[in-house]
């Protein structure tokens, strides 16, 4: 019931939006629809928090072994909640943005939301693939129709990357399905597979590359700064706040438990790529002058850490990633909102052209500083607990002792470098003297204050009491870690 509603509500309201020609009506309609979805998501977390409401199975393409099987598990709860919270915030914060053909814009946004919800709740591989594409396709259009000057090039690159990923994943899914005894696409059938080492290995890379592109993990990341830079900010928020979690969810639900042996064996390789990415992206972020690109690279570093923590294969890392997926989404959306305000008001995103804004826009400065510091995981903000658990997992990662230490230390450099680029960004935007562009600055408007207020409340709520989030995913994380644990038994044989 709940998962079906989570998909259908945005899907149907989105389709309706295509026909609302008036811009204001379309915008209000989209906001209302997203709030309704949020209400459903909250229901699923509280009142209807039991198996009968959270799972649903119907017939769908029975002939090829696929069924419409959806379920909201712990991870689904968090990611659906993130998606459900984000969309109203995105619509509200971009309330004053004008779009050509606004009905199409909002319709595509809602369709994207439906696709995302589907990805997070699908328990059937073909269904998963279907929603994966459903989530991506509206994003191509949003980026290519409403994006910046270089949108065509950026979208094309985005497309090439994800296309390659999709094809590889599809091959992987079809291969796995052919290996199941009942020729089924069901997640459970995949979990029951135990493929030989060699097979696991190459199937692993099919899936991993697809997910690595989505996250993105170095060196599969170069679509991302361009796409974030060129997409309209509302789309960028979806891409960076929510969509990157598709890749992580893929690894957590569809890769590591299905191919535990290969996941274990390739763990060092993946963690090495991710740790290189952390340092690499952080250093580039330090040298970035464009705020959007800076945040894009910082996001690569943060996602890299999450990827590492997964392959550490222990519960601390798993739980850390679970809550960080949620918190990273909240924080980065907060950052993008601020960037949107800056760009709209001053017509530039270049740090070198900004300055002194704290004098003119003190409220914005406070909000920006809070989300920026939350983004670098200052204690008592929401990202701290997740980052703490993830780093903790690295030191006890399932790898050699020396590697574990090296991984921890080099990933830890990211903490220091993150402070460097974040503080430099704050300094260049808000402090110092006013520049020509910022001399007539105004503070943020009421709708932006409201949205940022909500985000700041979430930042501190889950910063002081992260256990609220950890409780949601505790059981699932244990199950998943146990599934991976089997790999070590296999290895010893």
């Amino acid at each position: 019931m709940i998962p079906v509603l989570l998909i259908l509500l945005p899907l149907l309201t989105g389709l309706v939006t295509f026909f609302i020609k008036d811009e204001k009506t379309a915008r209000s309609w989209a906001l209302l629809a997203s709030i309704a979805t949020l209400a459903v998501s909250l229901l699923g977390l509280t009142v209807m928090n039991d198996a009968t409401h959270l799972a649903h199975k119907a017939q769908w393409l029975q002939t090829i072994g696929s069924s419409f099987s959806v379920k909201v598990d712990g991870m689904g709860q968090l990611l659906c909640l993130l998606t459900a919270i984000s969309f109203p915030l995105i619509f509200l914060s971009t309330w004053h943005s004008n779009y050509k053909k606004a009905n199409n814009f909002f319709a595509l946004m809602l369709l994207g939301q439906a696709g995302l919800m589907g990805v997070f709740v699908a328990m059937d591989a073909l269904l998963f693939y279907f929603f994966w594409e459903l989530a991506l396709i509206p994003m191509y259009f949003l980026a290519s129709q409403w994006g910046g000057e270089k949108r065509i090039k950026a979208t094309f690159k985005f497309f090439i990357y994800t296309f390659v990923g999709s094809v590889l994943m599809l091959i992987g899914i079809l291969y796995l399905q052919s290996k199941t005894p009942d020729h089924s696409f069901a997640l459970q059938s995949f979990y029951n597979l135990s493929l030989p080492k060699g097979t696991q290995n190459w199937v692993f890379w099919l899936f991993f590359v697809a997910f690595a592109i989505k996250m993105p993990v170095w060196p599969f990341h170069t679509w991302q700064p361009d796409a974030y830079e060129q997409s309209p900010t509302a789309t960028t928020m979806v891409l960076s706040g929510i969509m990157v979690k598709m890749g992580l969810l893929g690894v957590i639900r569809w890769l590591m438990p299905v191919l535990p042996v290969a996941s274990y064996q390739n763990g060092d390789m993946v963690m090495s790529m991710a740790v290189v990415g952390i340092v690499y992206a952080s250093l580039i972020a330090i040298r970035s002058d464009d705020i959007k690109r800076l945040i894009a690279y910082s996001s690569i570093a943060h996602i890299g850490l999450m990827c590492m923590a997964l392959f550490a294969e222990n519960k601390s890392g798993m739980q850390g990633v679970m809550i960080q997926m949620f918190n990273h989404g909240i924080n980065i959306i907060g950052l993008w909102i601020m960037v949107e305000v800056i760009e709209r008001q001053y017509g530039t995103r270049k740090l070198s052209e900004l300055g002194g804004l704290a004098q003119k826009a003190p409220v914005m400065a406070i909000f920006f500083v809070i989300v920026a510091l939350a983004n670098i995981a200052l204690p008592l903000t929401n990202a701290f607990a997740g980052e703490f658990l993830m780093f903790n997992s690295l030191l006890s990662a399932k790898t050699s002792y020396l590697y574990a230490i090296l991984f921890t230390v080099f990933a830890g450099l990211g903490i220091i470098l993150a402070a460097v680029y974040t503080l430099n960004m704050i300094r260049k935007i808000f402090f110092g003297e006013l520049t020509a562009l910022t001399a007539n600055a105004q503070d943020i408007k009421l709708n932006e204050k409201l949205v940022m207020g909500i985000i700041v409340i979430l930042v501190f709520w889950f910063g002081v009491y992260p256990q609220a989030l950890l409780n949601i995913t505790d059981e699932l994380s244990q199950v998943l870690v146990n599934k991976m644990e089997i790999s070590h038994l296999l290895r010893k044989q």
Partner: protein
Amino acid sequence: MQNALQIVYLIPLLPLIGFLINGLGRKHLSKSLIGLIGSGVILASFVLSIWVFLQVKGGNTHIAHYFNFIKVGDLTIPFAFQIDQLSSVFLLIITGVGFLIHVYSTSYMHEEKTEHFGRYFAYLNLFVFSMLLLVMGANYVILFIGWEGVGLCSYLLIGYWFKKPEYNKAANKAFIMNRIGDLAFLIAIFWIITRAGSVNFNDVFAVAKGEVEFRAFKPVDITVVTLLLFIGATGKSAQIPLYTWLPDAMAGPTPVSALIHAATMVTAGIYMIARSNILYSMSAVTMNVVAYVGLATALLAATIALKQNDIKKVLAYSTVSQLGFMFLALGTGNYVAAVFHVMTHAFFKALLFLGSGSVIHAMGGEQDIRNMGGLSKKLTITYVTFLIGCIAISGIPPFSGFFSKDAILLSAFEHNKILYGIALFTAMLTAFYMFRLLFITFSGKFRGTQEQEHHLHESPAAITIPLIILAVLSIVGGFVGVPEALLHGGDRLGEFLAPVIAPAKHASPVSHNTEYGLMALSSILVIIMIIFAWFKFRNYRRSEATGFGKVLENKWYVDELYDKIIVNPLHKFGGFLKSVIEKSVIDGLVNGVGKAVNYGSRQLRLLQSGQAGSYVLLMVLSMLLVFVVQFFLRK
């Protein structure tokens, strides 16, 4: 409520509430109300701290468990406070000295606009809150929360005057240098978790002592953990190699410097190591590292302080140097002496900084002592209290600094005569540069502008009263730790702390007569240095530093060295990654693939628009694959 220990949460909560009220209401409240709230909450915390202290003195210690901050698998990190002898001493220092600094600020910052005044007091309260969290936490994670919290507050306050770019750079430097240390601290925590399975102080120390089944630290673990924690401490407490942020932190308003240098922040490292004394005492390697790094820092900073001309810079380097002494005490196993010196140092360093603020205030913002001189006539209270501060820091009996420094020198002597020699030499330098500062500032002729001379005046009561209170404390504060040789049972601080800190191990105990001799020696040498400074600087005339003096004036060029070997190469490397690797190598490869696909798809493309075409292509290919596979499966 009969037991203060049940309401200890109020001690940090009150400053937090003050922060929220002043932060949110900064545009609506009047300055006097802001000052009243800001100082009032700290005073309330101080009163509670006294109550708590009396309870602890009566033998009650307490761990207050509030909720589980993080619980994952076997690892439980509670949000809990530990109230015992060590934390109660720090509570008194933080809230007591902190309160005086707040009162002082109401006058010192009075010319700020109301909203900035509110912002200032909000930050100040947040600073005290973080520091209280740090010393009250019952485990390493809560300690770490406060640890990063004070880093944040110092960042906010150093950059308080945010229009000045160099101030903001100083603020960034402070935060980043601290974060380097914080990383080491974090890794230490993770290491502790892998071995002890817990972060609670009591659990960890129990494992270290071998009292827990199935859990154990190997000697190498202890060394690694303590070294990592020590690296963390070098960041927060400004030791080699991470000390360079502290002198730059002078960019903040002067009362903030007093807060950072006396009551909060820099003492965090000392507290943390004293708290972990059980671990530290188990690793001889770490102890030596701590002692030598501390001593080297003490000496280095003292040499730099000899040639500084900014009144606050001299004091800043003297703080670095005094912290070095405290680490020397820790490294020689005399944790109590370190805590003792934290306390006396809090008194006289707060006094000196606030005194320098009074001078700067009178001079209309001037900080260069070369432009001062002869101020003793006009600023009598400031002068007398500053003099008391200088005597106390130099270690002349019976002022407070004498007792704490004597304890440190004695344990250095017992440990190793060379350590003692260098420490004694550094103590002489301390007396010299402090009295150089005093004489150049307050003696001789006035060297500033006429306008400044006309403007010279003693500061108002809100400034002078805290000075007088701190001066009294600087005189008598040392009597809580009178050495056994002078008075039987005189070391009351040591006795009080004994349950948390094992009494110092005397490697080769010295006789009382030797002790008298050492005390006399250091006192006489210090007095000689003061007399020497008097002759050299009573009629100061400005002169350019040359030769070695120039090197000292430029702080041994350490900042330049760091720029050259770390900052610049990293910056260049980042640029290389951005413009070469990212653009040409990775993207070049991708674009190559893209072009190939593009070429291939051109053959299939039916629609004009590239985007729609690609999209259709994707769908078609996907569908094709489904059908192909289905075909195979049917077979």
